[in-house]
Symmetry: C2
Subunit: 335 residues, 2 copies
């Protein structure tokens, strides 16, 4: 089943979307919002799923779905925590800051608590007040949980995943070093994130969903050119079960918690940090990694961080080439 | 005006509470929840305030208010960010970890993004799975904001403060060093926080609310004995306007964002880290500070972190000795 929200009030209104993202049916007569569905999943899921099946069978009136009309599936959430499942990314961005990668990062997930009061749609512009902040995108997988009890194991945690989607976890690279230097994580350096237009139940992902990993290619384009074609199912050191269990060690998680994979990242076939797409590699899901690879190869980074007017596209396609979650497609605007 | 929530569903139901905390009137016929009031403050505030005045005049049916029956005013929130306004606290806990205090900490607020999906009531037990985690309380002031635009100045930010309250920001001290060592802030080491039974509008605080600081004594008792009698209006380096403006530099804040002061802390009259209450000082609002002072004086800390069966009380009284927010009064239980 695929779900989205159309703009209404602070939380949007729930719709079910057809598998090909071409059609939708209103679901807000069953439960007004996606958060409401997550709050009472066992009660409403069967009803919303039945609606979704009727939509697929064209048994009910249907309307044209346009990704550009959707807001974030959850325009605000009670929790957003981001992991670092792709250790290659962590290694590269730390190298850029002159920091070593501790061995423990391969066994003990690195996670941070992010702001969730303002989550934006995949087609909303990326609003940037100051280019000097060094704005970067980070293309990631996210899951949305139901209630997760404290102390859940990784295996148990997997069963609490309700939905899967994509996120652009925007980072202000030039604000990060001094903020991380203070030791308490990100506050100013992580502005609002943008979510994919559509979130999908794990069951509807078929073979692509493999034990808490999403085995499809994450496609990132910058200014109309391929920037990353990264295999999200490869080199994913921590599956979502492990990330959720890490988070739930000392506290329970409320329904609607969003957990991120961290920036998806692959090494090169030779074990190196890989190559840009333009050089025949798989490329990257954030600018910082490409800049680091450039600095290693040529002594200095060449690709600038995002500027006003830049455009960005983040998408994942199924085996038939159809968009799974819709595209995060946005331009960077001053504001 | 004083507001609280009684248990109902995931978000409680809104009530107005009399100034002396003895009586309440249901407000959920006006707007069901405190979050709902914060979402549409301009629309509902005049109606809820009118109800509060009728309650004060005994012009409507009133019911007995018992702090123990209230849940957290906001049982979950879209944002919880904690500051470190009392730099004496930061200096002491860093000393305990063997870390120096950078000079910038006196001018650049230290803040962290916390979990807000599970906020507990002031009379709910403090549930602790493992005493070896080194559980500590941190008694703090919090404010709840309305919508705050990105780039708000400190002065503008003050006008967006809707409510003031207290929090026990529970910390697991023995998990903090390794987690902060990873550089991304707190995840496992900050379990659910507990909020005071009642939140109060700044206007109802009278002279105690002074330019974004709360000038009253924060009273902390541990196992029935005074542990801290700290002046929250003194040595507060960053008022709430400064903390909110820091947070809003790169992003807007959604209505219902909770911002904390960090652990309230005073130096001694001689500029030293102060003395425990038992030694004639003002004491502390967390165990870690007292342990550090003990370690400096005697070579090792004597006060243990919280154990199952310990009891805790955090309260603030007005000039007439009446409790302003009700008391956070809880015992530590295994679970």
């Amino acid at each position: 089943m695929k779900l989205a929200s159309l703009p209404q009030g602070r939380d949007g209104r729930l719709i079910v979307v057809s598998d090909d993202l071409a059609w939708y049916a209103d679901a807000d007569h069953i439960v007004p919002t996606l958060q409401g569905l997550l709050d009472e999943w066992d009660r409403y899921f069967p009803l919303v799923e039945a609606l979704s099946i009727e939509l697929a069978h064209e048994a009910i009136p249907r309307k044209r779905f346009h990704e550009r009309e959707a807001c974030a599936p959850l325009p605000r959430a009670y929790q957003w925590v981001d992991g670092s499942a792709y250790v290659n990314h962590v290694e590269l961005v730390r190298k850029a800051r002159g920091a070593e990668l501790p061995d423990s990062f391969w066994t003990d997930p690195l996670m941070y608590q992010g702001g969730s009061d303002d989550l934006r749609g995949g087609r909303e512009p990326l609003v940037l007040a100051d280019e000097a902040w060094g704005c970067d995108f980070e293309a990631e997988i996210v899951v949305v949980t139901g209630d997760v009890p404290q102390g859940a194991t990784a295996e148990q945690a997997l069963r609490h995943i309700r939905l899967v989607g994509l996120v652009n976890d925007v980072s202000l690279r030039n604000l990060i070093p001094s903020e991380l230097g203070k030791g308490f994580g990100f506050v100013q350096s992580k502005p609002a994130s943008h979510l994919s237009p559509v979130f999908v139940t794990p069951g509807a992902l078929g073979d692509a969903w493999q034990g808490g990993k999403l085995a499809r290619t994450l496609c990132v384009d910058l200014n109309g050119k391929p920037f990353g074609r990264i295999e999200a199912g490869e080199e994913c050191t921590f599956d979502f079960g492990v990330l959720i269990a890490h988070l739930a060690k000392t506290r329970k998680l409320g329904a609607g918690s969003i957990v991120g994979s961290g920036t998806v990242s692959n090494r090169g076939a030779d074990g190196s940090p890989g190559k840009p797409v333009a050089d025949g590699g798989r490329g990257y899901a954030c600018i910082a990694e490409q800049r680091m690879v450039e600095a290693i190869a040529a002594g200095e980074a060449a690709t600038p961080f995002l500027k006003w007017g830049d455009s960005l596209r983040i998408e994942m396609r199924d085996a038939k080439g159809k968009s799974i979650f819709g595209a995060i497609e946005q331009s960077v605007v001053k504001g």
